[in-house]
């Protein structure tokens, strides 16, 4: 009976093409808006590093002001570490991998005399950074732990910078002058634009990754200054950045640790707690013990990485779909009541109220699905437009795409719209006493 009802529905759609078009357009618009905005929210909110997000943990120690907590509302520890605490946290071998990091900016001196020096953001980190965050390489690889320890003047550059400086060729082994030092390129990244900058969500989580990566341990020998957040609650003294960092409780370093299991994580937390308790004896860490290892998704939630507006827009767009569907009730009602006499005939010939209701609901859902298909195409266009403004050059993977889940959701939205718009008219038409319209045909 379903296929027969679908056939009848299709005949009905074709019988009144203008009215059908108006209803389909209404549903298509509703589905396009809701699918687009829900997709944006879905893409932003979904696990940015699936398969690893529960293994990667952000390291936080509460070294903050004993008088005034960092976060009065939730008692969260500060988002960054001091230099000396980072050094202590990096000493442990419990994590499978660990990487502290900070940001600076350096002048890049291109080898070619045609190109002028330019200033570029640089990430200082450790060798584990690359495997921890699944960073893709086009040429070469990250540097070795030995390069961390020494430290060696090695660098990994982005594909974009490689294109700019070396025309996109394999530049591994080439020299690159950063500030006053010659660096050896050990790796060139493949085009890489994570949807969320997982490793540095304390600043702008939607920023692009840096173009240059160098070993963190070069910070002191090169007498660098950090360019990211630097926050302190104590007096800051010293002539150089590092002096100020050493002589204060200034926090400026982020750190991640990777664990294979919960036991490792607990052991590392115990290690950190033991370190802090030791420091308490020396007069630091005067606040109650509040150290945390937070998994990626939990940290995203805690720091509200997904903008509230994205969620609000997704909800509003769904309400828009409901309103669009409610507005179509009148059109469906008019369409159905116009054929009350035919329904009367069908009832006389043995159709139950339920059969009539289902026949008309199938028609609503068919129109809903056609509208949904058009809406999907429209939302693909909308997302292409969003991607056009959001997509960094050279990155092939589209930011906002309709994954199978979202496509299913769009079909669900279309069916929902069809049901909202159609249930009342279908109920009205099946409730008409069959005798009333038989004489009038």
């Amino acid at each position: 009976m379903l296929t027969h009802n679908l056939w009848l529905a299709w005949k009905s759609v074709r019988r009144n093409p203008i009215l059908s078009f108006l209803i389909i357009a209404g549903i298509a618009l509703g589905v396009a808006v809701s699918t687009s905005f829900v997709t944006v929210w879905h893409v932003l909110a979904k696990d940015p590093i699936p398969g690893k997000s529960d293994r990667l943990h952000y390291v936080r120690l509460d070294s903050w002001d004993p008088v005034q907590p960092w976060d009065e509302e939730d008692n969260a520890p500060p988002p960054l570490l001091t230099y000396q605490d980072m050094r202590a946290a990096m000493k442990s071998d419990i994590p499978v991998r660990k990487a502290a990091m900070a940001q600076t900016a350096l002048y890049v001196y291109p080898g070619s005399p045609d190109q002028r020096p330019f200033r570029e953001a640089v990430r200082l980190t450790f060798s584990d950074f690359f495997p921890m965050f699944d960073v893709p390489f086009q040429y070469g690889s990250g540097w070795s732990p030995a390069a961390d320890a020494k430290p060696e003047a090695v660098t990994v550059i982005s594909s974009e910078l490689n294109e700019r400086l070396f025309g996109g060729r394999d530049s591994v082994g080439e020299r690159l002058r950063l500030a006053d030092r010659e660096f050896r390129i050990v790796g060139v990244l493949a085009p890489w634009r994570p949807k969320v900058l997982v490793y540095d969500m304390s600043q702008n989580p939607y920023a692009e990754p840096e173009q240059i990566f160098i070993p963190f341990n070069l910070f002191e020998p090169m007498a660098l200054s950090a360019t990211g957040n630097q926050i302190t609650w104590t007096r800051v003294d010293g002539n150089t950045f590092m002096e100020r960092a050493r002589n204060s409780e200034m926090i400026w370093i982020g750190m991640w640790a990777e664990f294979d299991n919960a036991g490792q994580r607990q052991a590392y937390l115990d290690f950190l707690n033991a370190y802090v308790n030791e420091q308490k004896k020396a007069g630091r860490f005067q606040r109650p013990l509040n150290n945390r290892l937070t998994a990626v998704v939990d940290l995203m939630e805690e720091w509200e990485v997904v903008p509230r507006q994205a969620k609000a827009l997704a909800v509003i767009s769904l309400l828009f779909l409901v309103i669009a569907a409610l507005n179509l009730i009148g059109l469906f009602l008019g369409k159905f009541l116009a054929r009350a006499s035919v329904v009367g005939v069908r009832r006389a010939l043995g159709a139950s109220r339920r059969a009539i209701f289902l026949q008309h609901l199938v028609e609503c859902e068919l129109i809903g699905l056609i509208g949904g298909a058009c809406g999907l195409l429209l939302s693909l266009g909308t997302l292409a437009l969003v991607n056009r403004y959001y997509q960094p050059a050279g990155v092939e993977e589209k930011f906002f795409t309709l994954d199978p889940g979202m496509m299913l959701a769009a079909i669900g939205f279309a069916l929902l719209a069809g049901a909202i718009a159609g249930v009342y008219p279908a109920w009205r038409i099946c409730s008409i006493p069959p005798a009333r319209h038989l004489k009038n045909q």
């Binding site: 009976m1 010939l349 109220r353 006493p433 038989l438």
Partner: protein, 241 residues
Amino acid sequence: MLKMENITKIYRTGLVETRALRDFTLEVREGEFVTITGPSGSGKTTFLNVAGLLDAFEHGHYFLDGADVSRLSDVQMSRIRNEKIGFIFQSFNLIPDLDVFDNVDVPLRYRGLPAKERKERIESAVARVGLSSRMRHVPSQLSGGQQQRVAIARVLAGDPKLILADEPTGNLDTAMAREIMDLLEQINEAGTTIVMVTHNPEHAARAHRQLHIADGRVIDFERVTPFPLNRTGAESRQAAR
């Protein structure tokens, strides 16, 4: 076949009550051909609607084919309409965008018959009314008489025990009306009970019995043709096959 006892049907419009049927009592035997005449507003169509389970009634009892059908659910009534009753209307009541085949198919689909059996029934019924060559024509491509024959084919395909016809010749010219009456007589001779509302005395006279309705009551009846009471409709139907 059809037995109504003291049926009352009231239409309410705001504060106004109209008694369309008052203590309406009637019995129609299986295989009988009964015509109903009466002035406009006398309750003829209301009677047909109640008899066809298309309208509910307030008081009284209605027995159809031996079963009390006075208070049934919508699904039960729909099934009885589909399996036991065939309707023929003055305005044919074909579905405009379905062709002859699909129009005749409508009641069979609601009965849930398999496609092969439906096809056989449709082809046989349409052949019986002489429209096999018009199988894929839609109603607007047919004359009034042809449309009424399609409506009759729709009834024949369902093989009902009772046919309720509401002025089936009302929209047809004399020659076409006679053809339709001939067809109905043949169907009745094959054993199907027919109750027909008509204004035409000539057509009314072709039935076994004529009833006159006025003010929602049967006021008179006249036996026109002797009805063989010793032969049941089922036997006639069997003999016709």
